[in-house]
Symmetry: none
Subunit: 401 residues, 2 copies
């Protein structure tokens, strides 16, 4: 918060260009057989070259010991304190299916579930119906209007869906309808704030309507809702940093997060090469590019050390081309670590390299966790990346006289 | 803020002495021909000796990526959070000409300007009149009293001046009179806060009086004012740190900043040697010395790499003598970087060395940007220097039981 308030009055627009390359889940842990992490195992001549000419360090996306989810991890990279700027579960899920949330919208996560004749939940996932089935059922309950509030229902994956409420004066202070266990009836949604009474009533009327509509669709004969949340009102990167920012990401959640902070989302393909081609094609039209690589995180989550290594090498090859177009500032890092050994996100700090004509080079000659420990950037909160990148692009005026 | 609140209850007075040597704009960037910064190029046996026996690191005066002005840079060195403790433009300008601002005073920056017969500004700098002419004209409008408010008018340089308002219940919430462009009339000063109404009225009466008085002094026939601000009420280093602090600086702005935090300003000459002699002569009477070297910053601003190198070497020679009087704690750092390559202040972290009998030495054997990356102090906010220096002088009690 202080960060953005500090930046806003001193940021200036200029033709220089920044590329923020986010290799999702980049940081790792050493393979016990080789004592080398995924990044240290990968052959990365281009990243090493950038590290050698630039300056390196380690970032904490949220804080030491804190394992970040994808949303806080990315918000921190974009300069937003991930603790103050929280994104509700419902909103995150909506953003994750590219739903175009508008100001004032309320979003909730939902499950199709099975209820028995007395209305008790017997399966919270409705036998994990297929995504196609989910989409078909969503259409039955999509578009309802109750008391001038419109309900959008969209499939996510298998039994999962989102419900978005659009209307005047909505609020998200509602209790969940999901009882979180079988053998109980779906809960009546209640207001957690005096002003949420109308909203609770509308939601319960919606759920009653859903129950009637789905009655014949066993096992998916009811919906459970949780995580009601409102689209947050973030100051955008356009306002704060005076940038014209673009996002290149093949996964919807990252496109959605970028949209929440005011980036323009560019159409792109699904491969790493596609993403870099999109950057090159749009290079003239923006001055900040967020390019997101998903594969490294997925490989880490799968515990596939070698696949993560290969994807890092793919990224390295793509970077050779990026270097030839000479962006003024190149930042390469991750939103968190995803060590294959842990098969999930972790709290380990993430390597970062920053290259610009004006950086002060350090003695690091390769891009790796162990080398970055001795880097000139030191270990620092990820929220400081944007001020650093902007300074190196000469897009920040002096603070104070 | 938190910093000072933490320190105040645990600080104690003691005979030990701290010297804070600020080499203005110390940090640099490598010369492309040699890959060495100004500090790395300079031959500095005495600083290297201190670095070898002491502990080193890198400081961020305001934060990563933020280029500090001189005021925030110094406030941070003195232990004050430079974002919370902001100094207005008018006050800084007054402080910069050694004007003895008192509690409650309001200061504004001013320009002599030229207005035509219909009162429109034709030259915002009155043809850049000489400093002597400025001083002469200031006398004509100095000392006016309007509604019990006294106006002090002092020359700065060329067409620039300051106006200080002294009286009861003054406030600085005023709009500027400077239209910031030619072809417009000077603006009527308005109250930016309901309580500033009287103040706005008095200011406009002052400006009307100035216009009449200067009518025959073309091209300097009017004054424009901007940056109205009040002398901030800082807790002093005397209260917070229980120090008896002295400032040795040949440039007025740094003397003024030191005065704002409660230091006593010592008379000194203009050379580096003069400043060190002043320290030695006054060594018995104070327990904290802020010694300011200006030349390095000026050389950096001029883009003169070699001159900056030479001045660092001059400082190094002077330090030999300082070491012989054995201050309990010696801190050497800068208020920001001023790389000759950038010809201006920059965001790069600043090398720091701290020597005391009680520091924990690290492996750094020379005082340089690249060596300090691996120093025992790590990379840290400049506001932490004062607690560190006081701890090493055994001037801080244990926190908590």
């Amino acid at each position: 918060m202080v960060n953005l308030e500090l930046i806003k009055p001193i940021s200036r627009s200029s033709p220089s260009r920044i590329v923020l390359l986010v290799i999702d889940g980049l940081g790792g842990l050493p393979n016990p057989q080789t004592d080398k992490t995924e990044l240290e195992t990968a052959n990365t001549p281009n990243l090493d070259n950038l590290a050698n000419r630039g300056t390196c360090g380690l970032i904490d996306p949220v804080g030491p010991g804190i394992t970040p989810g994808s949303a806080p991890g990315h918000l921190a990279l974009f300069g937003y304190d991930p603790v103050s700027f929280n994104i509700g579960r419902g909103v995150l899920e909506a953003v994750g299916v590219d739903f175009d949330l508008q100001q004032g919208d309320i979003a909730a996560r939902g499950n199709f579930c099975t209820v028995d004749e007395s209305g008790l939940v017997t399966d919270r996932r409705a036998g994990r119906i297929s995504t196609d089935k989910c989409a078909e059922l969503c259409q039955l309950i999509d578009g309802l209007v109750i008391d001038k509030v419109k309900f959008f229902v969209c499939p996510v994956k298998e039994h999962r869906l989102i419900v978005v409420f659009r209307g005047e004066g909505l609020t998200s202070e509602l209790s969940d309808s999901d009882p979180e266990q079988v053998g109980l009836a779906p809960k009546v949604v209640t207001a957690l704030h005096p002003e949420a009474g109308r909203m609770a009533g509308i939601t319960n009327r919606f759920l009653a309507k859903v129950k009637t509509t789905l009655a014949g669709y066993y096992p998916a004969n009811m919906v459970l809702l949780r995580g009601f949340s409102q689209r947050p009102q973030f100051p955008t990167m356009v306002e704060v940093c005076k940038l014209k920012p673009a996002a290149i990401a093949s996964y919807p959640m990252y496109r959605g997060l970028a949209k929440l902070v005011g980036m323009e989302v560019l159409e792109t393909g699904t491969s790493i090469e596609d993403e870099f081609v999109t950057l090159k094609q749009n290079y003239a039209n923006y001055d900040f590019f967020f390019l997101h690589i998903k594969g490294t995180d997925s490989a880490g989550e799968d515990g596939d050390f070698d696949r993560k290594v290969r994807i890092i090498e793919d990224v390295d090859r793509a970077i050779a081309d990026l270097i030839t177009i000479e962006p003024d500032v190149i930042v390469v890092t991750g939103d968190h670590s995803t060590p294959a050994l842990l098969k999930g996100h972790s709290w380990h700090p993430v390597p970062i390299l920053l290259y610009s004509k004006w950086c002060r080079p350090d003695k690091v000659t390769e891009f790796s966790e162990s080398a970055c420990v001795s880097g000139g950037l030191g270990r620092f909160p990820a929220t400081q990346i944007m001020p650093l990148a902007m300074a190196n692009a000469l897009k920040l005026n002096k603070f104070g006289a």
